[in-house]
Symmetry: none
Subunit: 210 residues, 4 copies
DNA sequence: AATGAATGAGCGTTCATTCAT
DNA sequence: CATGAATGAACGCTCATTCAT
């Protein structure tokens, strides 16, 4: 799971291209050209185009997992605070790695690659586990309702974030941002909107209070 | 926009394959073989592989629009009832055309095909318009809150439905269905869960009551 | 060798297209479309695309031969007058059927079609025969030199006419025609130039006098 | 404009095949097979079949131009001697590159390829320019007539050479060569005949003396 | 007599990968 | 360690032709 400088550079370029044109729609020549390397290098460094994708998943997913784990252990926060932090964390993560998120969404539907599938499943499982743990904590303290469908909750979070980021342009067509506002300003706006929206939803789901 | 029997058959097979392997990952030979026709027929009937995809979008999207339009005009229903019906309608539609929905999701991210993009945009716009109309009706009757972010609402609905259906298998691994339960039974279960879940969310969003 | 109205119409269109894009470069669909008939008609009427070409050769070559034959029998003309008439006749014929001439030139170099080849050979033979006869007549009357290479003479006539008509545009770029002069006016100009030029050459070849 | 050993080999084979079957009639698979290489190599080396043709034109035309240029500068020769040398040079060149000449003739009539067309035009212009220069020299020395149509003159040269070489077989059917005479012996014979014939014609055109 | 549907073969090109150096 | 040349397979598409009606 350790990559050389060159490999990381290739991964980054591959990520951009896969996101823009899809895995099948991106040729190794595209990647090689953009990376300023020989076509043969992709096979040389990663074994195959398929394995390059696997490497991308391992690299990106691996780097994500760590931060969330620590959150749950923090004793100074209430369960709901933890949930809210987790939402912010997730929104932040997706918006920051939009390209990889795109790839994840499409590959999830199409790929038969076992390595990719297992990476994805592991990630999903961990997500559900984490939230389940947080919720149980809140239930023990009588702060959350008894019956909560965690999977559905997670689906709402992931789905809403996905749908919102993927249709970001559409959103700004209906709600035009102030003239001259930068792309990164818009990103911050979207993040805030998402955060507030999802937190409100989760609060209802968990506490039954609006 | 009228298709012959043969064309419809090809569209159906193409839909299955595009959903399973993506547009780029599906060759016209794949389609031809599964449809029991000659490769040349795809070009013969649709002009090109690209135009076959466009035809698929036009055919599927066109057939959907009608039912929703009538809903809003029904004077015997309260605004919330209409919203709830619309949710059921949407859930039903997606679950029934899962394959096309898959294609829509992936192509939306990747395609540069102007015809496909415009079909998609038009569909999204119509969705937002319809719901906006419903909400305004509710607001006039003082049944809904004043400030509702319709786009975010729609994103939650679409995103949740998508995330749930696309991860249906994952769901049943965590919540095993009774042994021997059929696939269509599971579909009904998912539909009900989605319907209840989203209705609850929308009620809060619209009325501020849990 | 008898063609129906429809067949003649197809032949005419095929002639135009073959001249413009070559035999291989022209598809039966091109022809059918331009003729407003079904693709199947080409095979139906002529048997095949190849046989359509054969038919074109037979039809066009057949119609040409007749006029020249009479020329030689005319007793009121001197041998040189006959030669000059023959030159005019040839120039006229080529310029009038430029398209077919184009096809003849290209197919001559490429085709392996035995029917086409034999049509061409027969035409060439007849040309040489005719001129040989005329020259012998002149020699008998001591008006022409004894040693004349008829084939080379014919080559110069055919070659010059061909090279001139095929480069007609190039010619008018170097010698711009008066502004507003029509295409048919230019054709007449080219005809006259060719006629004078070749007659002068032939006179020298045949009589050794400039 | 520099080609590798392999590229030159492919160009040579392509030249033979294009001459024999035409550009459209020759498939890249034909070329690849005859060259003992993979089909993909044609695209790899030249970009496309079309560009292979362009490369052929550039390579062949480029190599020709040089020799003629020097001729005109030679002060020790009279204008008529120069013209005669130029004729020999041209005859020699065409007979030596008969295949390319064939391709030139056919493509000239059919191609829409702008690169090929411009190569051809440039070549024709240079030819006319060169001869014009030679003739002016002769006119200044009062050795040539005042009114000479250079384009028509060049047309006669090119046309006669073309018509003669392209019908070489036909010629030898009418004037059978001695039994056992080789092909190259026949070529020399044709060259001599052409040289004498055209020189005689040009002499008349230029000096009005037979 | 004439057609539209359908076919199989072949087209030029691009693909991911391999291999000799 | 890295490369550029080369490969075979597959790509989407067009071709002339056939055949049932």
């Amino acid at each position: 799971m350790e990559f050389t400088e060159k490999q990381l550079q290739i991964l980054e370029i591959a990520e951009t291209l896969f996101a823009a044109k899809g895995f099948e729609g991106t040729s190794v020549r595209d990647i090689a050209e953009k990376a300023g390397i020989n076509v043969a290098m992709i096979s040389y460094y990663f074994g195959s185009k398929e394995k390059l994708l696997e490497a991308l998943f391992k690299s990106r997913i691996g780097s994500v997992q760590v931060r969330m784990e620590n959150l749950i252990k923090d004793q100074s926060l209430s369960p709901l605070q933890k949930i809210n932090l987790l939402i912010d964390e997730y929104v932040e993560r997706v918006l920051q790695h939009e390209n990889f998120f795109k790839i994840m969404v499409t590959e999830q539907l199409i790929t038969k690659n076992p390595s990719v599938l297992s990476s994805l499943k592991q990630l999903k499982l961990r997500n559900v586990e984490l939230i389940t743990q947080l919720i149980k904590e809140g239930q023990k303290k009588n702060m959350f309702r008894k019956k909560v469908d965690v999977v559905m909750m997670v689906n709402t979070m992931i789905g809403t974030v996905w749908q919102t980021t993927m249709n970001r342009d559409f959103y700004f067509e209906l709600h035009p941002a102030p003239v001259g506002s930068t792309d990164s300003a818009n990103t911050i706006l979207i993040k805030r909107k998402l955060s507030i929206h999802i937190k409100a939803l989760f609060k209802v789901i968990l506490t039954h209070e609006a």
